[in-house]
């Protein structure tokens, strides 16, 4: 038998840890100018966001941890931002990764990204605390249509 406890909601914590990891490296960059961690974590963040936006999948395919979005990841991403907002953040992260613009501009971009990932983490924590998975609305129509 499987459990139906808080362990089933762990994916939300994973999203929270993922977002926190990016926030940590963004803050470090903003405050010290050190982009070592940022360079290490941004590609994963970008791949994850792009996959959630449906833009592209990582070449690692489904084996990559965040490349193929889980239900929990999709749900949380969808709740915090419209596709347009996510695209905007993708652009911000790409600029940071490619080191486009002056240090001042990049710091401003990083602050924008902190706000996004902070909100994402916040939502993941809320979903962990109060998970719900309502039945899809169209499910009963499966029979009516035939």
């Amino acid at each position: 038998m499987r459990t139906g406890s808080s362990q089933d909601r762990v994916p939300y914590l994973s999203i929270g840890v993922f977002a926190q990891k990016i926030v940590d490296s963004l803050i470090k960059f903003i405050e010290t100018g050190n982009s070592e961690n940022l360079d290490a974590h941004l590609p994963e963040a970008l791949a994850s966001l792009k996959a959630a936006t449906g833009e592209e999948r990582s070449p690692d395919g489904p084996r990559s941890m965040h490349a193929l979005p889980s239900y929990e990841q999709l749900r949380t991403f969808n709740e915090v931002a419209t596709p347009e907002r996510r695209k905007e953040i993708v652009g911000v992260l790409e600029n940071l990764l490619d080191k486009r613009g002056s240090l001042k501009q990049r710091r401003r971009s990083a602050e924008k990204a902190v706000r996004f990932f902070y909100t994402l983490e916040n939502r993941a924590l809320r979903n962990f605390d109060q998970p719900t998975e309502p039945l899809p609305r169209g499910i009963r129509e499966l029979c009516k249509q035939t």
């Binding site: 038998m1 499987r2 362990q7 914590l13 840890v17 239900y71 924590l125 605390d129 169209g138 009963r140």
Partner: protein, 469 residues
């Protein structure tokens, strides 16, 4: 007035106290109890992770003192760490409770040995958890393992989660029972499915391997409307069928390894819980499990193919009759009453079409029938005779020489003996007055289980001695 930084310090100090209480709890139990190696590994991991986390909390406060404008972000990080520790917290107590005086050690070691014969599982270990639920659970270790490893990205110097650990919860009242604990084989199958999964998104090997069959079967059941339905709807149906498939896979996996003892253990537990009292309930599928009638139909099918069925029929026990009755229920009677009738019936039809793929899948993993029917047939009457006289059947005199029946043969023979009402033993040790006393019968049942457990322990000892020689 408290500043934001004071608030952060307060939260961090409180979190430190919470984590250190867990660390202390682990360390105290490691010192005062004896555990399986797997449990020591887990409790040790939790202690070390706790110490690393506490070190990090101080570093976090120092950093926040320098970069005050991010206090809100640091505070949320504390919440996240606390949630992760709350999850670990839920594992620690049941693991610490499962010391060797409370769990069927020999039985769990036998299970681990059997799982380790499957390629890719040579280093697998089971951490038993004592549960307050009267049921057996496999906890999704992949999630915990993954989270543990992910925590390393936000807690510097945290070590990786120990490899190969699985978590199975056992009802605290069943620690000394051999027969009820046969159900652990089903949970071990969940563990195997999770470990075999190629994906890291908490999928199961069963769902992955059967996804195409499930999809095709749903398409057949619902026609074009399935393909036209939303991704979410299709995914909901597929996941439901995958869950049902996994339960059948686990049952078949267990029977491959331990034979009819698993079927009887399931009957015992289900009956105890009153689940099989009404035929209506026996044919009803739930969100998580196929109907019991459907499960037992699969049990009977595989037991027949392994040649066990005649032995079961000859038992003439209530349990065997119940299994036969449930397996004989027409599949048209199956229902999924939590959904609308037509919708439920089509889902069931789609599921029934996938069953043959499940059977193939189990065979692919386990390799062959390992339920040792021939061994059982050879030693059954001797083992019964030994139990009848209160002798542990680990070493038996068979055809004038010393012989050692395998543990699986002992478990099945003892289970058969137990279900038949302990014939002979009961007559020998009861008077006409005490024959109908439940106390006496209960004591004898416990003794049979104790002798069986002892036989498993002896077998391990003998095997280890042989290996040393």
């Amino acid at each position: 007035m408290q500043t934001d930084l004071d608030g952060l310090l307060h939260d961090a100090a409180s979190l430190r106290g919470f984590i250190l209480a867990i660390v202390q709890f682990c360390e105290e139990h490691e010192r005062s109890q004896t555990y399986l190696d797997s449990t020591y590994d887990f409790l040790g991991y939790v202690s070390r992770l706790g110490n690393r986390t506490v070190e990090h909390l101080q570093a976090l406060i120092d950093e926040a003192s320098r970069f005050k404008r991010w206090v809100r972000e640091y505070r949320q990080k504390l919440v996240l760490i606390k949630r992760c520790w709350a999850l670990l917290h839920s594992f620690v107590k049941p693991a610490a409770d499962a010391h060797t005086l409370r769990i069927p050690v020999a039985f769990l070691q036998l299970l681990e040995d059997e799982i380790r014969t499957i390629p890719q599982f040579t280093k697998s270990r089971i951490v038993p958890l004592l549960s307050s639920e009267l049921n057996y659970f496999q906890h999704r270790h992949t999630r915990l393992k993954r989270l543990g490893n992910e925590l390393r990205s936000i807690i510097p110097n945290a070590e990786p989660f120990p490899e190969g650990l699985g978590f199975i919860a056992i009802p605290y009242s069943q620690g000394s029972s051999v027969f009820a604990n046969v159900l652990i084989y089903h949970e071990a199958a969940h563990f195997v499915a999770e470990e075999l999964s190629r994906r890291s998104d908490l999928s199961s090997y069963v769902a992955e391997e059967l996804s195409t069959s499930i999809y095709e079967s749903l398409k057949m059941a619902f026609g074009h409307s399935f393909e036209n339905a939303s991704e979410r709807t299709r995914s909901w149906c597929s996941r439901l069928l995958a869950r049902w498939c996994e339960e059948i896979y686990c049952d078949l996996f267990a029977i491959h390894l331990v034979g009819p003892a698993f079927t009887f253990a399931a009957v015992e537990l289900f009956d105890l819980m009153g689940l099989l009292s009404e035929e209506e309930e026996a044919v009803d599928f739930s969100d998580s499990h196929p109907a019991d009638a459907c499960r037992f139909k699969e049990h009977v099918r595989i037991l027949k193919s392994f040649g066990w069925w005649p032995s079961l029929v000859s038992l003439r026990t209530e349990q065997a009759k119940l299994v036969a009755k449930l397996a004989g229920i027409d599949e048209g009677e199956y229902s999924f009453s939590s959904q609308e009738e037509e919708f439920g019936s089509r889902l069931i039809k789609a599921f029934l079409r996938v069953r043959s793929r499940i059977r193939t899948l189990v065979k692919g993993i386990v390799g062959r029938d390992r339920s040792e029917r021939k061994e059982f047939v050879t030693y059954n009457s001797t083992i019964r005779q030994y139990l009848n006289h209160g002798v542990v059947p680990s070493t038996v005199v068979f055809r004038n020489r010393l012989d050692f029946p395998t543990p699986i043969a002992v478990i099945n023979a003892a289970f058969f003996f137990y279900l038949q009402g302990l014939p002979g033993l009961s007559d020998r040790l009861t008077t006409s007055r005490s024959a109908m006393g439940i106390k006496r019968r209960s004591e004898l049942q416990a003794k049979v289980q104790m002798w069986t457990m002892k036989a498993l322990e002896d077998h391990r000892l003998l095997r280890d001695q042989q290996e040393r020689v």
